[in-house]
């Protein structure tokens, strides 16, 4: 196999991703991510993680707020440490730790687009449910050692008032509608008409309820995301294309093809150790699917992959210790394997 074939495969893969098909879902998704970073007050979310916050709220909010709070990936750590030691405790902290990278609007949107809505939906639901289940299990397993160790510091979690929920819903709702209609299979001109209507509505929402600074901040954050993530995504896509011709397909189909326990387990373990930069798990898993990976193992990889990696495990270990980290990793791998097998048997 020549260098040309390899390069060609990489480039072909790139062209597949630089299509209207993909961009119509990625572009709105970037704007949504930018909106979350700029407009959702972290202080407003933080108060759900205080030591005296009702536990069910702490878990619930932790499972979905990863995308809101962990905008800079290095900020996951202080937050995790803070929630663990001074706030709601180990359980919600672990829930947040897992959900942060997993509940990523860009990744879920791209997964649905490139690998089918079933996998996208399964990934989204799986990530939320997982994070709560793992958090609860960790809290239960280590309950005796987790008696209040440090003094309560409710002050840290006092939080601040965010924008009125209605305003936020109007803004994000419209963006999501643009995303959904943009990617729906409806006649082109109907689509154009609907999107124009939605954009006008958005303009009204923005002029009424948001000031110039906020809009600027939104656009700036969106652009920062694009600069940060898009180039790496393209590299991931190219690499995935290269892998498709370099790796013999029977390696893939024999190790992770079908829906056996070993296929799902291998996928989970590999996912947990491998480091995936934001969004790059999508082109890589898609390439593996094309080469014969089963859908169950694919989900297992998508669930275990983004939240865990070897470097990440080492760092988490410095906050919660080796024993807890090992249990955490084991829980993730086990649950991912099981979920993969169940999903694989449902979609066949």
């Amino acid at each position: 196999m020549t260098l040309m074939t390899i390069l060609q495969s990489g480039i072909n893969e790139l062209l597949e991703y630089l299509s209207a098909h993909v961009l119509t879902c990625l572009v709105p998704a970037f704007f949504i991510a930018g909106g979350v970073a700029a407009l959702v007050s972290t202080g407003a979310v933080l108060k759900y993680f205080g030591p005296r916050a009702p536990k069910h709220l702490a878990y619930g909010v932790a499972s979905v707020s990863g995308g809101i709070l962990a905008v800079c990936s290095c900020t996951v750590l202080p937050l995790f440490a803070g929630i663990h030691k001074k706030g709601a405790g180990l359980g919600p902290a672990v829930t947040f730790l897992f959900s942060g990278p997993a509940i990523n609007i860009l990744a879920i949107v791209l997964t649905a687009r490139k690998m089918g809505w079933e996998l996208g939906l399964a990934r989204a639901i799986g990530a939320v449910v997982f994070s709560i289940v793992i958090g609860l299990l960790m809290a239960f397993i280590f309950r005796k050692e987790e008696r209040r160790k440090l003094n309560d510091d409710a002050g840290m979690f006092a939080g601040e008032e965010g924008k009125p929920v209605g305003h936020l819903l109007a803004f994000f709702g419209t963006l999501m509608a643009i995303l959904l209609f943009g990617t729906m299979a409806i006649p082109f001109w109907s689509k154009v008409a609907i999107i124009m209507a939605l954009l006008s509505f958005l303009a009204v929402v923005l002029t009424q309820w948001y000031d110039g600074d906020e809009v600027r901040e939104w656009l700036l954050e969106t652009w920062k995301f694009v600069k940060l993530i898009f180039p790496i995504l393209l590299v991931g896509v190219f690499v995935a294309g290269v892998l498709k011709v370099v790796i013999p397909t029977h390696w893939i189909s024999s190790s992770v093809g079908g829906n056996s326990l070993s296929a799902n387990l291998v996928a989970s373990v590999v996912g947990s150790l491998m480091y995936f930069s934001t969004l790059t798990e999508v082109p890589i898993v898609k390439a593996l699917l094309d080469m014969g990976m089963g859908k169950g193992p694919a989900l297992a990889l998508l669930l275990a992959g983004p939240s865990l990696s070897l470097p990440n495990m080492l760092v988490v270990r410095s906050v919660m210790g080796t024993k807890r980290t090992l249990v955490y990793v084991l829980l993730v791998v086990t649950l991912a394997t099981v979920t993969g097998m169940i999903f694989g048997s449902i979609v066949g």
Binding site: L46, L69, S73, C74, L77, P78, L79, I83, G155
Partner: protein, 79 residues
């Protein structure tokens, strides 16, 4: 005046340190700028979302990199 920039070392934290340096240089004040990268110290200081900015012991900003003018204002508030 004591200014602390807290963060484990990612791009945002370094940017904040730079903005703070520029602000201090422009105000021509005598300030000690300290970069805190140790996780325990960061949490102890009450910073949950990095980067964090603490001036003379008061937490002035968390989770974002304020523009130089905003930092100047924060410094003047705590002077």
């Amino acid at each position: 005046m004591e200014i602390k920039v807290l963060g484990p070392g990612c791009k945002n934290c370094k940017n904040l340190a730079k903005v703070v340096q520029d602000a201090v240089a422009e105000l021509k004040i005598d300030a000690r700028i300290e970069k805190v990268e140790d996780m325990d110290q960061i949490v102890q200081a009450g910073i949950m979302i990095t980067p964090g900015l603490i001036i003379n012991g008061k937490v002035k900003s968390t989770g974002k990199v304020p523009k130089k003018d905003a930092v100047i204002k924060m410094i003047q508030e705590e002077a």
